[in-house]
């Protein structure tokens, strides 16, 4: 399942390409181009105007302090409609339950306790569909032939007018099995109706829709571009996988509470928040990890498993120190012992963090040469985080990863050193590290200029920004991203996506980029509209699918 090492990123790129020079300075025009490319999801005319007005330094400073800039009201209005984004996992379990939760409700007979009749019918219908292997029946039996005809052949407006006349239960049942025009609703401008239809069909899909819609729209529309890049970067660094069980209820709060508040803050807060979020505890199995004694006591019980090292290993290897950077298998085991008992309450409905003393290994531990005395309880895990925060490998690894995102696949070691020192000096502050990077000669050098291959998400977002596209629906865009190799929130491995050119330079992905560019500029991406004169569409498509646009 887990394919490649992060260490690969630290190696020379597979095809040593453009000779790099981190000493050669950029021209003024190149500087503006460069900073807009790297610190945004793609250059727009508005950005060019802003940076011309403010000057480069002031512009960067504002990006580093997004709270000083008002957010784009169009974006805020869009996000406000995505009602699952601010929900807790319990609320999602209730309003947008995934298949397993629905199945439990139905089988345990508790479906009768669901008060809302629309919801009850929805759940029963979904369970029925699961039994039939996902086959959706259309709804003609609910409707007269005339009505069916309206829904099949009518315009979106006619369909909406018809649906508006129905009572809620009927409306929901019809939307669940719409006999025609599903694509119109899915890709049309009526976000509310689209979400309603998705909810009527597969309730939990609404949550995935909202997450992906928000991510895409923020990248395209946010004035806080750097903050959004960092939200993507840190989520990817602390990756969780949406489709693993209860993460279908937890990923929203994970991004909202464990990642987004800290993207420009302190790395320790990211570590603490991710280590205690049920999404991570579930994804890397720590919630079941217990001391051998506890496992022995619970022998025969369903969850009596014993020590699970997965989280401990990834914490060292991927989140903090980097693979093989000064820890042993023994350290992994000791760290795992420290985190025993860090678990989840009420996991079936998403749950929240809790510490189970009875699962905890109370003995003494030795982590990276530090003695952690017996009896520390929940504090053991916190001590591990302190030890990791102070380890030089952590400073260096985080500095390297940031420099790989913002400077080059093989960042100059001297720059990484300075950033690592900043991390150490400030005890993990992220903003000063970024400031050090953005004011370094290496960042402003030819070695960094256009040295990065855009990841598919970056390519798609930058193409939308370059064409000033009107994005009514992100459903098909999200599908495009999956086929370009970057399904959002669905990277299975804890490595996250690799931010190096070689990862994204292959035939299928390259063809995919060309095809996306042509489809976008000729208005063949459902849900997205661009205004380009027909005579210019082809040239624009070739530009967006061409070699230069793949770099930033």
């Amino acid at each position: 399942m887990l394919r490649r090492t992060v260490a690969v990123l630290l190696l020379p790129a597979l095809f040593a390409a453009i000779p790099v020079s981190f000493q050669k300075k950029l021209s003024k025009a190149e500087r503006i181009d460069h900073v807009l490319n790297r610190l945004t999801f793609g250059v727009t005319d508005a950005d060019r105007a802003a940076i011309a007005h403010l000057g480069v330094e002031k512009w960067i400073d504002l990006q580093l302090h997004p709270e000083r800039m008002p957010e784009n009201p169009a974006l805020l209005a869009r996000l406000a409609q995505l009602d699952s984004l601010p929900m807790s996992s319990d609320q999602i379990a209730e309003k947008y339950p995934p298949a397993n939760v629905i199945r439990q409700l139905v089988r345990s007979g508790r479906i009768d306790q669901v008060k809302d009749p629309v919801m009850r019918a929805r759940l029963e219908r979904y369970e029925e569909r699961l039994k039939k292997n996902g086959k959706v029946e259309s709804a003609p039996f609910l409707l007269t032939p005339e009505e069916t005809k309206t829904l099949r052949q009518g315009t979106l407006e006619e369909r909406k007018a018809f649906l508006a006349k129905q009572d809620p239960a009927m409306r929901d049942a019809i939307l669940a099995r719409l006999p025609g025009g599903r694509q119109d609703v899915m890709n049309g401008s009526d976000l509310g109706l689209r979400r309603e239809m998705i909810a009527a069909q597969q309730p939990n899909q609404v949550v995935y829709h909202d997450l992906t819609d928000a991510k895409m729209m923020r990248a395209v529309q946010s004035t806080h571009q750097l903050e959004e890049i960092l939200a993507d970067f840190w989520f990817n660094h602390f990756n969780v996988f949406y489709d693993k069980g209860i993460n279908r209820m937890l990923t929203s709060s994970y991004e909202r509470e464990a990642i987004r508040p800290h993207v420009l803050g302190n790395f320790k807060d990211l570590l603490l928040a991710t280590s205690q979020h049920p999404s991570m505890l579930f994804y890397l199995d720590n919630w079941t990890s217990m001391s051998e004694e506890a496992a022995e006591r619970g022998r025969g019980k369903k969850k009596a498993q014993g020590l699970n090292e997965n989280y401990a290993r990834e914490l060292l290897e991927l989140h903090t120190m980097g693979v093989d950077k000064g820890y042993t298998q023994k350290d992994v085991t000791e760290v795992a012992r420290c985190f025993t008992g860090w678990s989840i309450t009420a996991p079936r409905v998403g749950g929240s963090f809790t510490f189970h003393q009875r699962m905890h290994d109370g003995g003494e531990k030795l982590v990276l040469g530090h003695r952690i005395p017996a009896g520390g309880g929940k504090e053991d895990g916190l001590k591990v985080i302190d030890i990791l925060m102070e380890h030089p490998s952590t400073a260096r690894f985080i500095a390297t990863k940031l420099a790989q995102r913002f400077v080059a696949d093989e960042p100059p070691p001297a720059l990484v050193d300075r950033m690592a020192k900043s991390f150490t000096r400030t005890k993990g502050e992220i903003r000063p590290m970024l400031q050090a990077m953005f004011s370094s000669p290496e960042f402003w050098s030819e070695g960094a200029y256009k040295a990065k291959m855009k990841m598919p998400f970056e390519m798609v977002a930058s193409a939308l920004r370059a064409t000033n596209a009107q994005v009514d629906s992100t459903v098909v865009l999200t599908q495009h991203l999956a086929s370009l190799g970057q399904p959002l929130y669905k990277k299975v491995e804890p490595t996250g996506y690799y931010n190096s050119a070689e990862e994204w330079t292959n035939s299928a992905a390259l063809l995919g980029r060309m095809n996306f560019a042509m489809a976008l500029t000729s208005n063949k991406v459902p849900g997205v509209r661009v205004v380009i004169a027909p005579s210019e569409a082809r040239a624009k498509g070739l530009a967006l699918g061409g070699p230069e646009f793949q770099r930033h």
């Binding site: 969850k303 997965n310 292959n506 995919g512 498509g541 793949q550």
Partner: protein
């Protein structure tokens, strides 16, 4: 069944314009190796169960395979692999037991990386073993090395041209923009994108010509599963039958990391694996003489099941080798035993056959690349008599 003949493949390129690789592709070099990576670490002790080992049942109180298909009185196939029994009986399926990598990492990505680079313990290796297994050819087919999926796997990266193909039908530039893109990329100063795009467009032309041929599997019963794996094998079958010079193909199945509630997951995965390859075998018919399929997984799983009806990261695993030229119907390799003192660190099945011994033998004898020192630097594969 439609087979692409020399004539119709030539006609796709127009008279007198046939690229140099074509003659070789159509006339010779028709051996193909298909590599299937089982990502996440398959539980080899459940796939090929050592029911004859006295310690086995004790290690697996709930996960013991109760009704294995007896192979030789000691090992049995998991019932989910039952469609392979005829292949075993006709001696086209071999099993190599207790294989693995000498590097003891229990990290999935490290272990997969080492297996794909072919250099356990060495992270500095830039290319993959399967790319190095291809010999230097002046006029090689642009689809000599194909990975099914959106990304080129580590095993196939390197100097020889290799392409990632999502599906044959979608592998093209739409809207007649191909010519323009070709010249843009060909004239680009970006050497990385330039070389990738060159490989890409050569492959596009060839695959487009294959896509224009209709295809139906050899027999009605050769029903490939609708799974990603089944459909990948179907694409591989089409490319093989096109006779367009594909030497290696790579595909994978994810999800083998069965820490919790292993049995039903493994049942599904093994079912997918066996149904896919059984269909492929039937579809290929007599072509299996020129084909070898090998499965690999980054490590095995703990001998003892854990408290949650699952297994954790272990050491040795088994590999399956399928093909007309395989010395099948036997379990190769030395069985190290499951007794407490026989286990590696009293925990895992010990490794007695380096995975490079298996891959090296297939590379040398099937692909005909004898320069194994270049394929597996720093290691001399020992042939185990699998071919």
């Amino acid at each position: 069944m439609q087979t692409m003949t020399r004539r119709n493949i030539l006609s796709c390129f127009g008279l007198g314009m046939a690229p140099g690789w074509l003659a070789r592709a159509v006339t010779g070099g028709k051996k193909t190796m298909v590599v299937v990576f089982l990502r996440g670490a398959m539980d080899g002790l459940s796939a090929v169960t050592p029911f004859g080992d006295k310690a086995y049942a004790g290690h697996r109180p709930t996960l013991r395979v109760a009704d294995p298909i007896d192979l030789d009185g000691f090992f049995g196939l998991n019932p989910a692999l039952r469609s392979w029994k005829p292949l075993w009986d006709s001696k086209q399926l071999a099993i190599v037991q207790a294989t693995g990598s000498p590097d003891t990492t229990r990290s999935h990505f490290d272990a997969q990386d080492y297996m794909e680079s072919g250099t356990p313990g060495r992270k500095g290796t830039r290319d993959g073993w399967l790319n190095r297994a291809l010999t230097e050819e002046k006029a090689a087919s642009p689809i000599r090395a194909v990975a099914l999926g959106a990304n080129l796997p580590r095993a196939l990266r390197g100097p020889q041209a290799a392409v990632a193909v999502n599906s044959i039908a979608s592998f093209k530039v739409r809207d007649d923009a191909q010519g323009d893109f070709m010249s843009m990329y060909a004239n680009s100063k970006d050497t990385v994108l330039k070389s990738t795009s060159h490989e890409t467009f050569e492959a596009v032309k060839l695959i487009d010509s294959i896509n224009k041929q209709s295809y139906s599997p050899a027999t009605g019963s050769a029903a490939y599963p609708g799974s990603r794996f089944g459909q990948s094998l179907l694409q591989i079958a089409r490319l093989i039958k096109a006779g367009a010079g594909m030497e290696v193909a790579f595909t994978d199945i994810t999800g083998w990391d069965t820490h919790i509630n292993q049995a039903p997951q493994l049942n599904n995965l093994l079912g997918d694996l066996s149904a896919g390859l059984a269909a492929f075998h039937e579809d290929m018919g007599s072509r299996m003489q020129d084909i070898v399929v090998v499965t690999m997984s980054e490590f095995g799983r703990t001998a003892r099941e854990n408290g949650n009806r699952g297994t954790d990261h272990g050491r040795a695993n088994c590999m399956f080798v399928l093909g007309g030229g395989v010395k099948g119907g036997q379990v190769h390799g030395q069985w190290p035993g499951l007794g407490p003192e026989q286990l590696y660190e009293n925990r895992d099945l010990a490794i007695t056959t380096d995975f490079r011994d298996v891959l090296g033998e297939l590379t040398a004898k099937h692909l005909g690349n004898k320069n194994l020192a270049a394929v597996f630097p720093g290691y001399s594969p020992k042939f185990r008599g699998i071919l």
